[in-house]
Symmetry: C2
């Protein structure tokens, strides 16, 4: 049944239902006032009811539409609340402002592949690299995501949702849920030699957030400088700088961070990756470790980024620095390399004198991590699911590492391989007549994504590549490294002949 | 079988397996080197092997323990890597540093109830209030958490985990996953009159993070002042200030923010809650709305905190300010009042000229929200589960609101009730011979948790309470308000008689 049969008055009204193409049959049951307000608002927006024009009197429009007077009154009231119309007493209801028409949205343009390597790497560099299309992705930083324990996660989630107390869905402790803080304390004791109380653990949104929070805490205590490894993670340096601290470089050699250089620099704090240096893969030597501990004992502050310490292939990982010096070490870990970066969960242990400031920083950052994924993760850690997953990963990663080393021997015979004992990536260096950024750009043009070592250098050094193997199959790794070999050969005339002579 | 039968050499070694109580039978199969390193490390830590002492020669200890020489070599190597021992050539292997013994953990002490109201509210005030024990919790800010759609959440999670592409588990777009940004754009169009493109939506960790990010973006553009409502959310003010902007107050009256005061103040930006002012519950009047839009059109920036706009009981909510002025409004919303604060998910739309800076701020904050909960939420939004949940909540909340209003009429007959048309809380004001903080402290001593209005005031004003009703049953609400009445009566001798005369 149409409710919009023309009534007797419709011809005499200039601005009315006819002019506005109002058809009350379109209105959902019980939603006529909202519908009428929507239609009038649209008419105001597109100029059919310009500012200054008068709406029909309520009783007239109600009769015309065959709706109750209340429907029209409520629609006018809504438009009045929104500021579009105003009552003018005997002057009726007048349009006083139009809704804005938003500017057309800019389409999401994919960047041209290779462009990412031309300019100096900026804030969005990793987003650009990620969104560049590629057939084979050998960029470092992710574990085998195909092995993510989806079934175990869902089981744990079901168990968590079943057992959850209602208040746990409210605002929570900014340090994180107690079950996860306890599970992390146990995990760190078992795997990293750290003795920590759950009260010391602050759950954060990954190492990126950890570094930002630590930098803000240090700034707040008058520390405006955190020395970093060279080469060392570009991303980590960007996060520290954005949080307002300077990042002077300290060289890394085959024993890890040059503690003598750190001393000479006089920086009050240092960020390092002692268990598996990024990107070189070096483990901090025992002598360096002692020397660093001495430096910390004299008042230096250590920020320990323990990003992939669990992935050691030859023997158990060296315990964390934090295990030896809880008063001098901010310890940062995460599940990004254990499970998946998309979970955005990590943890920080602060030296006791900075703990409250760290909790404040986390509170002001976001009031604490989301509760459900924390509880699911606690479940995985405490039931042994995480340990099983890590064992599975180690086997898969080791095979992928071996595939990459073998492919490098075949296709990049002149390259030196660094850091094969642990982790999710290799570093290769080589002599080449082109920069590593040019090499990475040429590889991306051929569908293979890698990171140039120079991104992670502060000071000039030999060219190289940082190659992730954990997230690709042995076949893809072989193909990808072969493409790198072709690109390098094409740039090195003498080498092409040499390679074709090989079996 | 015990592997620790005493060998022929055991009596002749001073620092050896006997002295160290080494029993290789304790070692897990295949883990002897790690076990031996652990035991030696423990002995170094507790002083049985002090710094300067010499470890037994490898072949001697191996023979004594009846393990292979390689096991001992590897254990010594580990301790060397850790910096605890060092080879001294013919001098053997010497202990050079001891692991630290962490200070005993401080127990997590619950604060004394009522203490939270004594001092000026500091950074941890809401954490203190939350952790104070109480029988009945009438603090505002949470919906009915008992109604959280656990089954729908788990169903959606199963569906998400089943359909997830592997790369979605890696690092992602700092703005959030596309499915959630699209679902939020649709949701905002349907419920808040906002036309937005998914590219404009930045998913954040709740409104707390939103305010911090917006404040940093504004600071970065030279805007160091954001006017706020008075009374207005203490938490919001704390977050802005922590992020480095000043927060001069602008009065709120029965029509909402006094735009004339804002103009006179000359602040470049303002944070407000136009759909349902916190804590007064006022809806910004049509005239004020127009006036604010004019102020924004002249260059003023609006930060719209749309924290509980969906919970309107009498009629559909007024569209967001953002709908009328996308170029001048930062829009912040979240699921904290729709589903649960523990999810830590919200969204921000920035004016186009600030969009890139907002994305940078989110990237540096945490590289983007966790992916799985975003995808689950997108599922709930697009399948209609969220709308069903909201309808369920509205009915429950309305009954709880009615229960609270009726309890206030009975037990606080002299109090004025504000903001009953929408939201999850009421504000009550009253004449009393004690401050609202004293009242809140006395109520907490009797097991009822409420927030004093003065927490949310910048400038002095009449005492009052902010009372959340959404998260408590009608019975608990009645009981809690009765306790407030008793506390107020006890402080007001004349009132007690008046109340006992009532039916």
């Amino acid at each position: 049944m149409s409710r919009a049969k023309p009534g007797p008055a419709d011809r005499s009204i200039t601005v009315g239902s006819d002019f506005l193409h109002l058809d009350v049959a379109e209105a959902p049951p019980g939603g006529r006032a909202a519908w009428l307000a929507d239609r009038l608002r649209a008419a105001i927006a597109d100029g059919r009811l310009p500012v200054g024009s008068r709406l029909p009197a309520g009783r007239v429009l109600a009769a015309e539409l065959r709706v109750s007077r209340g429907v029209v009154t409520e629609a006018y009231q809504r438009l009045g609340d929104e500021g579009h119309v105003a009552g003018r007493g005997r002057g009726g209801t007048v349009v006083v402002s139009a809704p804005a028409v938003p500017a057309p949205a800019t389409p999401e343009e994919p960047p041209a592949p290779g462009d990412v390597f031309i300019a100096e790497p900026g804030a969005a560099v990793f987003d650009l690299l990620r969104s560049a299309p590629a057939r084979i992705d050998l960029s470092p930083g992710v574990p085998d995501l195909g092995a993510f324990p989806r079934a175990a996660w869902l089981r744990a989630e079901r168990s968590v949702l079943g057992a959850l107390a209602t208040p746990e869905l409210g605002y929570g402790d900014p340090r994180g849920t107690f079950p996860l803080r306890r599970a992390v304390a146990h995990w760190l004791a078992r795997t990293r030699g750290i003795r920590a109380d759950p009260a010391d653990v602050v759950v954060v949104a990954g190492t990126a957030q950890a570094l930002g929070l630590v930098a803000r805490v240090l700034s707040g205590h008058g520390i405006g400088e955190v020395a970093v490894e060279d080469p060392g993670s570009l991303g980590a340096r960007q996060h520290l700088r954005h949080a307002g601290v300077d990042t002077p470089p300290v060289a890394v050699d085959t024993q890890g961070l040059r503690v003598d250089e750190l001393r000479a620099l006089g920086a009050p704090a240092v960020l390092l990756t002692p268990a598996h240096q990024f990107p070189t893969g070096v483990v901090l030597g025992g002598g360096r470790r002692r020397d660093l501990m001495r430096w910390a004992g004299e008042g230096g502050l250590v920020v320990e980024d323990d990003y992939d310490a669990e992935h050691r292939y030859d023997r158990p990982p060296v315990p964390a620095l934090r295990a030896a010096l809880p008063d001098g070490v901010f310890y940062c870990g995460s599940v990004s390399k254990l499970l998946a970066p998309a979970l955005r969960v990590g943890w920080v242990l602060a030296p006791p004198r900075y703990r409250d400031a760290l909790v404040d920083a986390k509170r002001y950052a976001d009031l604490g991590n989301a509760a459900l994924p924390q509880l699911v993760l606690a479940h995985l850690l405490e039931t042994g699911d995480m340990e099983r997953h890590l064992r599975l990963l180690r086997g898969r990663h080791r095979r992928r590492r071996d595939a990459m080393i073998s492919a490098i021997r075949t296709h990049l015979p002149g390259a030196a391989v660094h850091g094969a004992a642990a982790g999710l990536h290799l570093m290769v260096t080589f002599d080449a007549p082109l920069s590593d950024r040019e090499l990475a750009a040429a590889a991306l043009d051929r569908g293979v994504k890698v990171q140039p070592l120079s991104w992670h250098r502060h000071r000039p050094g030999p060219p190289g590549l940082v190659l992730g193997y954990a997230a690709s199959t042995p076949g893809a790794i072989g193909e990808g490294v072969a493409v790198l070999g072709e690109v390098l050969d094409a740039a090195t005339p003498g080498r092409r002949r040499r390679r074709t002579a090989e079996p």
